[in-house]
Symmetry: C2
Subunit: 419 residues, 2 copies
């Protein structure tokens, strides 16, 4: 097993201006290779970077990934601090300088003297090319001394859209070269909805744990629980049928599955289609569906019918019904689904109407209330009531997931009924 | 100035199953109070937690925030490790136990023996109530020894939807009690679009830096750059007009402004309305707009017209035009905007059509190509061409931001024209 650490640099991360997505990205890519991240830290731009690099080195991991601080501005100190730590000289790499000049021409921006700092390379390092930005990445090989294990260093750019392609194009091939024998772990994650963490542990987790062979982890997610197992493939396969039996249709997927990817996959398999009409989720539901590559084959259309007028015009909901029951009601959710089905000819129509907040709540209809409407050809429309008294963005997410789970369970029931 | 560290616990964070949003949340809330986070680290569940807590304590910050590891399962060790580090006994808190029982009743789930672990509290700690979950938070006061400064400890639950309300309801009042004299920093962030990081530094950043009074930071964001200044209010105010002049209409906002919040604010100010029709952005644009509280006052409706058929049916785009120019073309983007304007009667209509990938590209129309259409009453529709050759989700984000920036600049030009 190879062990890695991640050092993220950037004052903006510690000020909360940016969410750090590097750890999750690197971890997800490294784990299947058999590289496990055991520690991550974030330090501000400036000389604290040096301390963090020294601390990481002192724990002797196999690899250290450092992100950020490679840019042209005066607070970009990562390459200087690593060169200082390892006692390496910085030299100007002419091919990097030429690439920076070329990028400026391609993007029609003027070359600036300060950009030249990005062509400085510690002696013995290898340059990792960056077609998406001016700052290249750097690989600095391990230099063991006095019998102590020393890490390999990868310095990567801060912007995810530069780091991620560099990881695939430059870092991965280099890792395979450095560690030709690396072997991935076996692991499986069961993604569960409709049960709490404790219920999952009681239903099956504790039994697996008491056997002492598999590493068992639980993670509470919005509206879902992950049951994560790591260990020998034999044990994973042996437990698999027991877990399926214990958790049943509450398991919506495995590993990287999401509700939206499962719904798109199941629709594709059956040659069926989906349409959405959203009030309170405001496009988040359609956005989730269209995040899945290939969604265009099953997703006919979506509507964000925020106003009553657009519910009437686009979905044919009657003004009387809206007047009588209100926009946030089971009746409206159902009428939206019926109108959407008729309008689009989709196999499945799903709708949301609710109160996202922070304003707009009332004692009878509080912030967080949402109705999910669902209709399919040849069945009468249904609606379910949910309460998500959380912030506006989480509300949109939970309500969209409830809508997707409604479609998922309908697909499941239908195939059970046919079987 | 008060200094804080953050320790995030959770194997799922180091496996990449979950993106860590705690640091950004805490930092954003603490900074205006004058509390600066100088270090953050992530450790797996288990005994490494103890090492991380000890290391944080050894740097003597004023406060340490620890997230996660307070739940009912066997890998939840945070409270045990802190009690061990500080030599505190764990005792069962009867009121916490009663609250857990009560929550089970309210949620109609069975009480389980393992849940009782969550009622264990280090002696001298204060319980932070958690109405959104079974595990309470804990505040453990500083216990200085041998003249060394010791931190105050806040142990908070891992799920953001539990941590965030606990922060506002329990942690904030306690911080004001502990540090009655805390004084916020002055800072201002200029959010800039249409210029690169180096251009912003050259245009104004370097001059501010060379004065040596304000701390200057740059952060490259998707399609944007943040110029961040920290320091005396006098200097911030003195530089403000120079910065506005140097960066002009490329500044789309300040601090927590986003393109969508600026667009909703400016529309609200003018009593104008917006409608969207999305092909390639698949609802992300509408989702951004409806993330802004109060968006319902200006956002009439949105459509995700993924299929050609829905572009024809919903927006009245002609089949001939689609046939002649293709769905991804300036002509289609314009026709979508015209049809949308007519359908909805909105003041502004904005549309997207492009190729999100990974599939669907061709030599003439590669993945990443997008056209933004825009129409407003009394003007002929326009379209602009953009290239974002990035992953599918980033593409949707960049294209949606380009659409919002189109509306923002149109609003700006219009008010300049009237002035």
């Amino acid at each position: 097993v190879l062990v890695a650490e991640v050092v993220n640099t950037g004052t903006e991360l510690l000020l909360g201006n940016v969410i750090n997505t590097h750890l999750a990205f690197l971890a997800k890519e490294l784990f299947p290779l058999g590289i496990r991240i055991t520690r991550q830290c974030t330090v501000p731009d400036g000389i604290e970077i040096g301390n963090a690099l020294a601390e990481a080195a002192s724990r002797s991991p196999d690899i250290v990934f450092v992100t950020g601080g490679l840019g042209p501005t005066s607070d970009d100190l990562t390459r200087d601090e690593l060169a200082r730590l390892l006692g390496l000289e910085l030299v100007c790499d002419e091919s990097v300088l030429a690439a920076i000049h070329e990028l400026c021409v391609r993007r029609r921006i003027a070359f600036r003297e300060s950009m030249a700092r990005q062509a400085l390379v510690p002696k013995g390092a290898r340059v990792l090319s960056n077609p998406h930005g001016t700052a290249p990445g750097l690989y600095v090989p391990a230099s063991p001394s006095a019998g102590r294990r020393a890490p390999h260093w990868f310095l990567l750019p801060g912007p995810p859209r530069e780091l991620q392609p560099m990881f695939f194009n430059e870092v991965l091939p280099l890792l395979r070269e450095l560690f030709p024998d690396m072997q991935g772990f076996s692991s499986r994650t069961y993604r569960v909805t409709g049960m709490g963490e404790t219920a999952v542990e009681e239903a099956i987790g504790a039994r697996i744990e008491s056997e002492g062979i598999l590493e068992v982890g639980f993670c509470a997610r919005p509206n879902a629980v992950d049951l994560r197992l790591i260990g020998p493939r034999e044990a994973l396969e042996r437990w698999h049928p027991h877990i399926l039996q214990a958790l049943g249709s509450n398991i919506f997927g495995f590993d990287q599955d999401s509700l939206e990817s499962v719904v798109v996959r199941e629709l594709t398999k059956r040659g069926q289609t989906l349409a959405t009409a959203e009030s309170c989720t405001g496009g988040y539901l359609a956005n989730l569906v269209t995040n899945v590559p290939g969604a265009s084959a099953v997703f006919l259309e979506g509507h964000v019918t925020y106003s009553n007028e657009s519910k009437i015009r686009t979905l044919g909901v009657s003004a009387e019904l809206l007047e009588k029951f209100g926009a946030v009601s089971a009746e409206t959710a159902r009428a939206m689904a019926e109108g959407l089905l008729e309008r689009t000819g989709a196999t499945h129509a799903v709708t949301t109407t609710g109160i996202a907040g922070p304003g707009g709540g009332s004692p009878g209809k509080p912030v967080g209330l949402v109705f999910i409407g669902y209709a399919r050809i040849g069945c009468s429309a249904t609606a379910s009531e949910h309460h998500f008294p959380v912030d506006r963005e989480t509300f949109k997410r939970l309500a969209s997931q409830a809508a997707l789970d409604t479609v998922r369970r309908a697909l499941l029931e239908n195939s059970n009924a046919q079987a």
